[in-house]
Structures are given as C-alpha cells and as structure tokens.
Symmetry: D2
Subunit: 483 residues, 4 copies
C-alpha cells in the first residue's frame, strides 16, 4: 500500500537528520519546535485526507507507473480531469489548513520534469526521462513528500547568472565526476523543504549557452551531506512560542520558508534530469511555473474560503450581519475568490497532452490565473479587515483574557452580541489577524504576489501567449483595412 498515514509521515520526517538553523542556532528537534511544527501539520493534512473515503477521489489516483493508488500529490496528470481534480484538492487543503500545505510544489515539479526530460532526451539522446520515471516510482511507492526548488538568490537582478560577482548566487555544477556531479548554490524562499523527504532542484530561468553549468536539474534526499537550511522570519512567528492557542489565530497549521544551501553536494547520475542542455532550461521553468500558477487558483481560494467565513462569523458576532454594506462586502469577497477559482479550473479544462503523455495546463490562462492571485487576495483581506473592525488589531492577549484583574474587564468590554462568548469573538478576530497580518498573511498576501513568479513574470508570459498578431488581423478584417 502506497499511502502513509499522517502519523507515519511525521515519524518518517522525525527520522531524517536535517541541518536546520533558526535564530542563529541549529534546531535539534525541528519536528517538535513550536514555530516549525504547524508547517509540518499542514503537510500532514495531505496524508490524513488521503486516508478518508469521502476524499479518495480528489486526494488519490491510480498511478500508471505502479498501477497502485497513490496520493494525488505524486501523480502524473493523465487528463484534464486530473488537472481539475488537482485544483479541487488544493482548494480543499486550503480550507482545512488556512495555510500553505507545501506539497504541491513537488507535484508541479514532477509533471514539468516528466515532460521536459522526455523532450530533452528526444533532442539529445539522454536518459533523463528514464531517470525521472524511476525516481517517481520510488516516490510514489513510499508516498514521499518532495520539495520542488526553483528560485535562486539571483543577487543583482540586472545581471545574468554568469555575470554575477559571486557565481554561487545561481546554483551550478562545480565538479563533474564519472558517477555524478557536485553542485553549489542555494534556493531561496523554500516553503516545504523542511518537511520533505527529497528535493527536486530545477534551474530558475531560461539560459543561454554561456550558462551551461547552471542548467542543472536533479533530486537528492533532504538529509544529504552539504544541505542546510536557514529558516526565514515571518510576521508574528515567535508568538507561537508564547504558548497561547488563542493569540496565534491558527494554532495548528502554518507554513515556513527556508533558505536552502547546497554546499558542494554530490548528485549521483541516476538522479540527474538536466545537465547542460541549456535550451531546455526555459521549457522546464515555463512548465513548472505554469503548473504552479494553476495551483494558486486552488490553494489560495481555499484559504480565501476560510477568511470569508471568518469575516462572516465576525459580522455575526459584532451584530452587523444584517447591514446591507456588510452583506455586499461578503458577496464581493466570494465573487473575487470564485473568479480565482474560475481561472484555476479554466486553465485545467483547457489543458492538453504533451509529447510525453501527461497533461499540461493552458499556459496563457494559468498565467492569467496567477496574475489575478497577485491582486484579489489583497482586496479580500482588506474587506475582511473592514468587516472585522478595529478589534482585530487592538484586542488584548489571551493572558489578559485569563488575568485576574484584566480577565473580567476583557470579558465585559469586548463582548459583542450578548449570546456569543467574548472568547469566541476574540478567537475569530485573531484568525482574521493571522490571515491578514500574521504568519498566514505571509502566505495569503506576499506569497500570492511572488510565489510561482512575481506579477511581472506573468505579464511577460501573457504578452508572449496573448497572440496579438491574430487579434490585429481580426481588427483589420472588421475595419476593412488592407495594407
């Protein structure tokens, strides 16, 4: 049976000895660290839900490679139906965690590497596709979580990889051996890396022949020698250490980013998926980015559902749920959120088969999807703050709520509708704070902007895919213009 339980997953990660640093020190037990654990719990949800019969169709699939039922997060899309189910799965997980659950990045890497290796092999006679299929079978059989790592630090953004002062600002091969390669560099902003068994590394952008050593893709286990991680700070991160379940808003789930450093890491040949074929770097990036931009039309919609729900609960608790402007704002939030979902679904439904046999999303629509994700969650968040009221940023701490002197005062003065407990009112305020300003805002806002590529990256793709020449021809035909 290829499916792990959530508990098995946690224990499998616990067994891995990863180099994790936070606040300048090594974290000896990441699995039980209060700042890091919620992020692990989010990934765990991808295992827990896959065990539940009511979610079997959306959470799992039959692998064409192993012929076994596997977690959909390890599945190679066989149809547009699979693409749509992916979006639904991500929305579901967003709803259940109100956080980034991280595992989609591996899924998107699988599917882009799968088709790109096929076409690279065809052009170069290499064996990357076989390498990759073998790797994938192992992943499916073990139900592993795999990080997909793309973003290099990049240094001076006005300069190409080989023109950087420090060559390591882009991941590159530093030594070539008969049995593999040695790589150095780093991948920034890696959300799921800490909770992954393996990592797939891909190039971060299109490459020219000058960047040969930078055109490298491979997989390694996360406890490989030479890999270390430095955890990034999030808004309100240390609040998780204070021991208050109320104050954190979402006490169970989260997401955490890490700079992941590869200090002369050895990669055996069998785990290499690209190695110097610079002209295929762009294809891998474009496809990965495309899949990942589709993903945002699922996961952020799920988180949006929670935020909309939280705002609606706040309106109930404030006694404002019948005000026409509040109802209208909730409609607007739903409208914007479902528009994102439409984009996620549409780029899936319009997907098509690649040469390798798996399904790719419609790239234009996937980029349109992500571009909207860089905008609408901000407006949804603003509307949530509007409905919640000032209390979401001025509510006292749980310690005040429990305090001998302060407790009764908080209880008395922060009561909203008489039938609702002050505790519940504070809880919903904290959840809204968490999603709009706190740890989860990192994922719901800033990463909605930059994850899977910053807004301008999508605009460039929209420009390329928008087929302006055909549109000009249509206009000229209508206007009876002959040139």
């Amino acid at each position: 049976m290829a499916l792990m339980t959530g508990e098995q997953y946690i224990e499998s990660i616990r067994k891995m000895k990863m180099n994790v640093y936070m606040f300048g020190k090594k974290v000896e037990n990441p699995v039980d660290d209060p700042i890091l654990r919620p992020s692990l719990n989010s990934v765990r949800m991808t295992y827990d839900l896959a065990q539940m019969p009511e979610y079997q169709d959306v959470m799992t699939a039959i692998s064409p490679f192993t012929n076994e039922r596997v977690n959909r997060f390890t599945h190679i899309h066989q149809s547009t139906d699979d693409l749509r189910k992916k979006v639904k799965m991500l929305r579901l997980l967003g709803q259940k965690t109100a956080a980034c659950f991280q595992r989609c990045v591996g899924m998107d890497a699988f599917n882009s590497v799968f088709s790109t290796t096929y076409e690279t092999d065809k052009a170069h006679g290499t064996k990357y596709h076989e390498n990759f299929v073998n790797f994938l079978k192992m992943v499916e059989t073990n139900d592993f979580t795999v990080d997909g790592a793309m973003t290099d630090p990049k240094g001076d953004r006005s300069k190409a990889p080989h023109a950087q002062e420090d060559p390591d600002l882009f991941m590159h091969v530093v030594e070539r051996r008969p049995d593999g390669v040695v790589v150095r560099g780093a991948k920034a902003h890696q959300t799921g890396v800490l909770n992954s068994h393996w990592i797939i590394v891909m190039p971060t952008q299109s490459m020219t022949p000058d960047d040969k050593d930078y055109a490298i893709a491979f997989a390694v286990p996360m406890d490989t020698e030479g890999i270390s991680m430095i955890i990034g700070r999030q808004s309100c991160d240390t609040r998780k250490r204070e021991g208050s379940s109320m104050d954190v808003g979402n006490s169970e789930f989260g997401g955490v980013e890490a700079l992941t450093i590869f200090d002369n890491v050895f990669v055996p040949n069998e785990y290499i998926f690209l190695n110097g074929e610079t002209e295929f770097a762009g294809m891998m990036v474009e496809r990965f980015a495309g899949y990942h931009r589709q993903s945002y039309g699922g996961c952020k919609v799920g988180v949006g559902d929670v935020l909309i729900g939280a705002a609606a609960v706040a309106a109930d608790y404030n006694g404002a749920n019948k005000a026409s402007h509040v109802k209208d704002k909730l409609i607007e939030m739903v409208h914007l959120n479902e528009t994102l979902y439409c984009c996620g679904i549409a780029c899936s439904a319009e997907g098509y088969k690649t040469e390798s046999g798996n399904y790719l999303i419609d790239l234009l629509l996937a980029n349109v999807c992500k571009q909207n994700v860089t905008r609408f969650p901000y407006e949804i968040a603003r509307l949530a703050e509007d409905i919640a009221g000032d209390l979401m940023v001025t509510a006292p701490s749980e310690a005040d709520f429990r305090g001998e002197v302060t407790g009764p005062l908080v209880e008395k003065y922060f009561r909203g509708v008489a039938s609702v407990s002050t505790e519940n009112r504070l809880r919903i305020m904290r959840l809204i704070e968490n999603l709009t300003l706190g740890t989860a805002a990192v994922g719901y806002r800033t990463e909605s902007l930059h994850g899977a590529g910053s807004p301008q990256a999508q605009r460039i793709m929209i420009s390329r895919q928008g087929n302006l020449e055909q549109k000009k021809a249509l206009a000229k035909a209508i206007a009876h213009i002959q040139e």
Copy 2:
C-alpha cells in the same frame, strides 16, 4: 440537410412579414434597411461559419433528437464539452462580427426550457416537455433562428407584477381557450428578435401564486398576428444611413434592439411550455439567466479580442507600439479579457447533468462570470481609448477625407507612421470609436452591464450560491471555536 446557408437564411427572413417600426414609421423592407441590415449580417455569420469545414466541430453538433448534424445554436448540451464548445463558438463569432450576433439567446432558452419543462411535467403531470421537444425538432430541422424573450418592461421596479398600475407591464394571459391562450404584454431590449423566425417567451422573474397569469412560456413565429416591434435608438445609429463605410467603423455587422409588443396574440396549446405553474417560473428564469451569463464569457471576449487588436494596430500606426506603457496596457487588456474567458470556461467545465439529461452550467461560476463582464469591458474600453489617442473622437468625416479642399489636408495632417496610409489610420480610429462610443458600444458596454440581468441580479445569485454557512464552519474549525 439541416443547415441553411447564409444566403438562404437572409431570404427566409425576407419572406417573413413582420411589423417593424422605426422613427415613428413602419419599415417596409427591414432586410435592406441600412440601420437594420448589419444586425442581420451578424446572425448570418452563424450560418456562414457552420458551413465551413474548419469550424464544423465548434459550430455544429449531432442532435440526439434528429440524429442529424445541426447548428450548435439549436443544440441541447449533452456534456460539459458541449458547454465549453458553446463558449468557444461565441468567442469565434464575437471575433468575426465585433458585434452581438443574437442567436445565443435562443440557444439558452432551448436549454433552460428543456430541463424546466421536464421537471414541471414531473411535478404537475403536464406535457410541456413533449411540446418543447417537438418544437425543437422542427427548429433543428429547419435551422431556424429563435429569439429568447425574457425582460418585461416592469414599470415601477419597486412593485410586483400584479401590483403594477398597468397590468400589461408584465406579459400575461388575457384569455384562456380550449385550443390555447391569448397573451398581452411586451418584451423589452430584444436584440435578435427582428432577425428571428420564431420567438420563445419566458417569464421575467420568480412568481408567487398571485401571479398565475404571468407564469406563461410559449413559442410563436415572428410573423404571428398581433406582434409588432419598435426599434430602439443606438448611439450613432443614423450614421449608417450616411453612406460612409469608413465613418461607421464596422460597416458590415451590428446588433439592434427592439421593444416587442404582443397585442392579444393567440398561442396554440402545442407551443405552450408553462402555464400557471408559478413555482417553476423561477427555475426557468434562473437557468436561462445562468446559461446566458455563461454566454457573455464567450461573445464579449470575442469582441474584446477585436478591440484589443484594434488598439494594437492604432499603437502601430501612431508609432507608439514600443512604448513600455503601451505594451503594458495591451497586456492588461489581454489579461482582463482572458479572465472573462476563464469564467466562461470554468462554469462550463463544472457543469452537471439535469434530470432531463441536458447539461447545466455551474450557476455560481456563471454568475461570477457575468459579474466580471459588467466591469472588465469598461476598463478594456478605457485602455483602448488611452492607446488610440484623441484622434478617435476628433477625426474628420470620410467626406472630409474625400473632399477637394479638405482631403489633402486630412491626408497630410492625420498621417501617423509614414508607411501607413491616413485612410487606414482613420479606419482603425473609427473602429475603436464604434466599439467604445458608437453602435457597438451599446453591446460591448451597456449590454455587458445589463444583458442577462443587471449586476445586482448576479450579486443576489452569488449570495445565494456562495454557501456562506460552510465557509463559517471552516473558519470556526480553524479558530477552534465551539458554540
């Protein structure tokens, strides 16, 4: 063969003797009237394209009722694939006409009446479904264009049908006979009515038992005694009478609206599809509106393609196509337009089978689709005007361009990029004017707002379909709220 050619279609309409009034007088020959003809040409395009092999898949389908290939505009959707193809067909027609081609309203009526009659019959033991299927077969066999008429004049919008001072402000039965009913009333804003062989009349809103006589749906030929039409004025309508092909922007295609009056029209029993079963009026309206809101995610996108193309051509002709702000505005236009398309596709892909066997779109997403259509074309139009420049509203007439004295001056001073003729520059300006301010702006702007229901109508549906209770439950689970 069930498919008419365009020419056959024109002649078939010419043969019908309809009562058409314009500027206070009866129009004796509507088919050749310069104001009305472009509208007919748009419908004709639905016939012409269906004849072309390259469009066969999108423009036609095999009818499950006649087992013949029929125009998709007469087809009952058999799958979500059919729903998506409908959207693609509408986009194609928008691209080819840059106008409203009108025939979708009948298609949407067919599909909503098909499923509603089935459920009405089940509840009431009536025979409406059989009536409708017979009617449909006749339509398919003859490849007829059928108008779908919903919007009553409504009078005082704060009052229900039966509370209006004048009972005729909503269509209603005035006499019941053994062989049928006699109806009176009117349908407003009917775009395709003039170019239709038949008309399907449906109720305009949900009804209560008090409105029994208003819960009436039926079909009649457009040359039935008692029916007359008064053509509405459009911005720049009479410019079409001036004989200038340049000045009208789009000299071939258009769309025209009419108030359609039913003055004691007799409807035989076999063409009645609802008659007093008030509780099913709402279902028919909701489904028709849903299908028609989906439609806007196709047709307006196609018109948008032309407008984007026109703006891009204008930028070329102005010598401004390399300016980064111009390129960015074109990207934004594409982005907004494709977002509309995403919504059209998504509500189709997420459609489902009704009890009657045909496919209905996802109602929430279809309403989201239309809601976006009430916004984005306005911004696309604004951006087009931005790129075009002032010339689009200050360019002189074709008569000036041809004038002895004025011609050389216009030629000289309105030249943009030296390699482009002034005539072509003026032509593209006129097309942009047509789409943003002229006759086509009626369809691209105002009817994007109000067609298939005004914005608030969609918001009410979004509110109903948005499932706020489920979202609240999700938020409470995350916030650990127990009540």
Copy 3:
C-alpha cells in the same frame, strides 16, 4: 465696461469670417449650424453667468492691468484664492452646460505665457512679456474668447519634430521678415477654436536647439488669412440635425473639435511671445499643461454633478431609488467626483507666486489631479449606466414617441413609476446616453483621458516631481541604514 452679454458675444462671432469645413464642405454660417451651435452656446454661458450678480465673485475679477472688472476667463491669477475660484467657476460651468465650454484653454494660455515670457525676457533681453501684456489688455477690454492651441499632429510619435518626414506635422516658422514671421502647420483637437476671437499658439513639447524653428508662440485673430478648420466627427453628431430635442439628450450645449490649419500665416512681431528660445518651450508647455490639468478638476466635476444627478433622477423614475445598492452607487459616484474636486482645489491652494507675479498651481498635485480624471469619470459613467438600466441604449426615438401607431405603445410600455411621464423618463435616459456614449461622452470620457495630455504625460511629470530621493532618505533614516 469690459463685459459682453451673451447675445453680444454671439453676434461678435457671427461677424467673423472663418474658414470652417465639415463633411467635406465649407460651412457658410457656422453660428446657426445645428451641429456647431451648441458648442457656441456653451461658450456663451461664460458671458451670461458673468452678468449675474450671484455669480459675480466667481465669474469675474478686477484686472490689475486695466483696473476694471473683467471676466475671470481673461484674468491673470493674483493669489491662490484666484486659483481656487477658477476651479469653482469651471465646476459651475460644467454644471450649467454638461459639456465643454472651451474658454478655459485661453485662460490657461494667458497665465502660462504671462510667466514664461517674463522669464524668457529676463534670460534673453526680449520683449515678449510686454507684447503679451499689451495683447492681454486688449483681450480684457474687449472680453474676447481666445483659444489656446498646443497639440500638433505629431505624425510618428517615435520621432522628434525635425525628424518627421513631413516638417509641417509640427507648427514651425517658414519665413522670417522684419515685421514678423510666417508660420505653417496645424493644431489638432482644438475644442474652442471655432468660437474664439483670437488664438494663442504655443509649442507642443520641450525642444532641443535643433528645433529652433518650432519654438514659436504667438497670437492671431481667428479670421486671419491662411487659417482654416476641419470639424471632427463626434459620436452622434448628426443626431443634432434630425430636429429632435429629446433624442439629443442635451439640446442646448455641446463642444466641438477642429483640426486648425495654418497655411503660411503671417504673424506681426507685436504678437510674438516666443521665437526660437528653445529652452523656454518646455517651461511654457509644462505650465500650460499644469494649469490645464488643474482645470479638469473643475469642469469635469461639474459635468459629473449633472451625470450623478441624472442617474439619481433615473433611479427615481425607475422606482429603484430605495434599493441599497443604488444608494451605494450614488455615494460612490459622489465620492469619486469629489475626489477629483479635492485635487483641483489642492493644487490651487498649494499654488505659489512666479517671478512674473502671477500664481502657478502646485505642479505635482495638478498632474495627480489630471491622472485621476483619466480614471474616475469612466467609473462614474459605468455606474450611471448601471443605475439607468438597459433602456438608455434601447429607448425608441422621439419620432416613435410622437408616432401615431408607436406613440401610445411607447407611452404605455416605457412608463416607470406611474406618477412620472414617459417623456420625462425618456429624456433622462437620453441625457445619460449623451454623457456616456453620445456627443458629450467625447468630452466627458475620451477627452478626460487625453485633454491636457494623455495619462502617460502626467505619470512622467509625477515621476519628476515626486521627489523620490527625499523619500528614500526618510526610509533610510527610519531603518537606520548608513551607506
């Protein structure tokens, strides 16, 4: 007494023999032409209101040059109070005409030429300022309307004046004589030119030494030999010829644009205000544009008031004025409109004295003002269309309303609230059509975009005036960054 009555103004224009072309023919009597007359009426309003005691403070001022009371449209601003009163005057006129009243362009030319000539003389020892003051006194004494002409045709926008294939695409000196210069070229999009006694011509952009012959500013009477005009088409222009006061929406007022050609026009020395001092071309343009961008914070706000009022009347007549979404849309329209007004007022209140002694607006805020004007009228128009309903684009003609057969039907079926006549309902619909799609939409929409410079022109100025370096220093101080 320096103030003409409206009637005197009309007659003074009638006496001038201008070369006006429209539809390829010379217009023998422009003053009484149905397409052109409404535009003249708008300018007339600047005379009529100046005669009314209740508007004396806003419409007139005491000239420091003649010490007489003059029309404020000929006044040199003596204080920030004058600047604010200008904005209020323009708003008032927008409210009274719902159109472009054209005379502000001369006022803005006066004030920019006044201060620029002063500084040019100081640098070059020229006598332009004296020339200008003498000219101005004559204008004030005669209460003349003067067009301010800036926009050259420009041809290929990617090329500088001297790099155009046709040198006449920018106005330039073709001959220098002892007593003056001869100029050739054209000014495009001139709204008030037809109704002006004189015209001030200014350069259209910053110039380099290569463009010496293009750095020319001067004034001439509009009936000077060699000047001719070609009237631009507007949406719905010829509807004014049809003789229906209802159908035009605004039967009394309008605005009309013309291409104005200078074919070897002689300019005597005393009316020259710049002649080859290329480095001052930019100052004149920047100041004129600045004043004119302020103007839009007045005039378009006044037109907006009418459109908001019209939408509110439509809501009343439709019986929809109590719907919360309608009330909210009206609030939004007021909010956006008053935001524009805030910008007009703010750039005035923050104005400052130039070296020449008159007052200049704050350039940053004036550009911000205009930038908002390129956006908000579009949204106000969209909301007006939303509130009005489909009828605004499908209502039949006045001829239908008066027709024997059609009249009673229109009367019956287009009645809204029972207490309101159908005629009044149709009238308000036509006014909304006029402002959003018709002749007035040219001024309220497209010219809000491009008048006084296209959006990108303001963005360049905002970039220059925004003082980013100071803002960076503020941020570095807060972040304790030392470099």
Copy 4:
C-alpha cells in the same frame, strides 16, 4: 515658555502613575518597556520638532488665548491656513516616525469641543465653553498631550446604547453630585492614551433623548483614580522584546492601542463639556470625526512617503530600479499618496469659520478624504510588497545574520547589488515588512480603515453632504424636464 522639550515630556509622563496592564499583568514602568516605549517616542517627536527653528512655522502657533507660542497640537484653528498647516505638520510627523504619533486626536477633540460647547451654551445657557477654554489654556501653558476618546465598545452593533444588555458598553453617568459626576464605561482602541497627560472623553455617536446619561463629555488627568488601561496586541509586538534592532524594522517609533476603562471615575463640574444635552452629541461626534478624517490626509501620507521611499530603496538594492514596471509602480504609489494629500489639503482650504470663531474643515471633502484612506494605503502596501520581493517575508533573523555558522551564508546569499551590504538590504526589507505586515501595518492598514470611523460611516456622511437634490435639479434643467 509654553513648549516642553522631548526629554521633559518623557519625564513628565514617567511621573504619572497610570494603571497599565499588558499580558495579564500590571506594567510597573511603562516608559521603559520595550513594547511601549516606541509609542512614547513617536509622541516625543511632536515635542522635538517643535523646538527646531526650521519647523517652527508648521509645528507651532501663537495662541489667541495665551498670546504665547504653543505647540500646534494644542492650537485652536484660526484660519484655513491653520487647517492646511495642520495637514502639513501631520505629514511631517508621519515622515519622521513612520508610525502613529497619536497627538492629533487631542487636537481634533479641542477644536470640536471648542465649537460645540459654544453652540450648546447658546442653546442651553450652560457654561461648557468657558470650562473648556480654561482647560485649554492650562493645556497650552503646560504643553500637555491630551488623548481624545470617542469609541465605546458598543457591544451588539445592532442595538442602541440604552438597549444593550450591559449598560456599561457605552460610557455613561452613574451618579450625579453637586460638584460633578461619576462615570463608568470604557473607550476602546485608544492609541495615544498611554502617553497622554489628560484625556478628553466624548460621546461615540448621535443620541436620542433616551440616551441622556450617555451624552457626556469631560476631561480628566490620566492618573485619575478609577482609570486603567489594557494594552492591545499588535502583529509582531513581542518582536520588540527580542532585542534586535534590525528585525523590528522600525526600532525607534511605533504606536500602541489600549482599552481604557473608567470604573466609577469622578469628574468635577469645571471639566464637564456636555452633560445630557443629547441633541449636541451628534454635532460633537460629527465635527470630531470630520477633523480626524482630515488628519488622515496628512499622517498616513507621511507614512506613505516612507513606504514609497523604502520600496524605491529596495528596488535599488535588488538591482531592479531601471525596470519600467518598477518605475511605473513607484509612480502609482506616489500618485495614490498625493491624491490622499490633495483631499487633506482641499477639505482644509475649503474650511469655514464656526459660530465660536474657530475653523472647521469642509465636512464632505473630509469624509471623501478618509474614504480614500480606507483604500489607497492598501494598494500602496501591495505595490511595496511587489517591488520588495519575497525576501521581505522570508529573510532570516538578525541572530542568523550574526550567527557563526549562518552569518556568512546569509551575508553571501542575500546580497543583492554587489555594492550594497546585505545588512542594509535586510534592514530595508524589515522596514517594508513592518509597514505592511508588522506593528506599523496596524496603523497604516487596519487603522486607516477604521480610525476616525469605518468606511461605511464616511459613506453615510457623503450621502448626507452630497446634495443629491441640487444635482438632480441640474440634470433636469439640462434635459429640459418639467415636472
């Protein structure tokens, strides 16, 4: 001399014995508490700048009551010039603190109580105005900071004060004595209360005769018996306790909110400014809200300047400052920010004299100002996050930057442009994080929404002040509608 130095101010606050609770415990030394001190520093800046000659004009004024130079924060506006200078002063302080500096709320209370007491006395023969002027002289002479407290907890928002289950949810008189009154209740979200010498309490909304005991306004010193405060949590508040100056982004300044409880507080007669004259409660609220909505057109603009500057610095450090889309986003940020400033200036310039002799802002424009503040800072923040890049939410801690193992890695991999130190790059990222997600986001985002009244409160005022009837009359005149 009426002006305290910053140091004197700090010491004067240190001497006051206030009851401050945080995290459930009494704070013994609030002045030196790391979470609370930055908020005090912000207020201190209002003293420091007033000492600097270059800011004398904007920071101080001559009191008409003491004839001495006083801090402008204690000044009664004598002209529209004073109103504009207020806005400039607030913008300056926003620039210098990038935080809420809290003292404007007292200034706004002074000016609204000043004019309202005058009119109340006139109607009721009371002596509130004299009370207030005496109080004000004392404040000016001592250069005190005074909190202005308006917002009651309000409980169930669908119920009036007297209809609440717990009567204390609105501040009210519980006992009337010959020498004064005893009050009970609380004021929520009080930003400056902790750093104030006195507090002015005002009613929170319009009152009906039933609410007599709630129509109470008065002043008391902050160390009065019965007053206590519970500090609200802010996003990232405890990060200030961690001892890292880098990680907090803005290590010096901040703002802190508190629930302020009045538990049977005695108020002597001479400090009472309203007591049961219910019909004047609304006037006081409306004027205070009006002044405070004006304030946001200054302070938030100043904070916006810092955020725009920070984004521009980030672009420099990332090597992205030449990208056209980055430049365009900075222009948009400036544009939006200056639009807010325009509104602040305009409602000031259009202010008018009250019966009491001080100046009131234009209420319509002040509400328009605040309404824009509920929108634009969110978009400015979004654009800042866009320009900054993902690093702003994934950068490691200062401890990592200093750590033995991690330090060199952070140094290496988070370098941007080679010439800029990684430390400086991290510092600017943290400042952006602080303003968009951290402690300062509370002030820049959520309080921009709710401070001085939530968005809907402004819309109600815009509706009331927008004079729709006049606008309807304008439209009817243009459309020739006679009723």
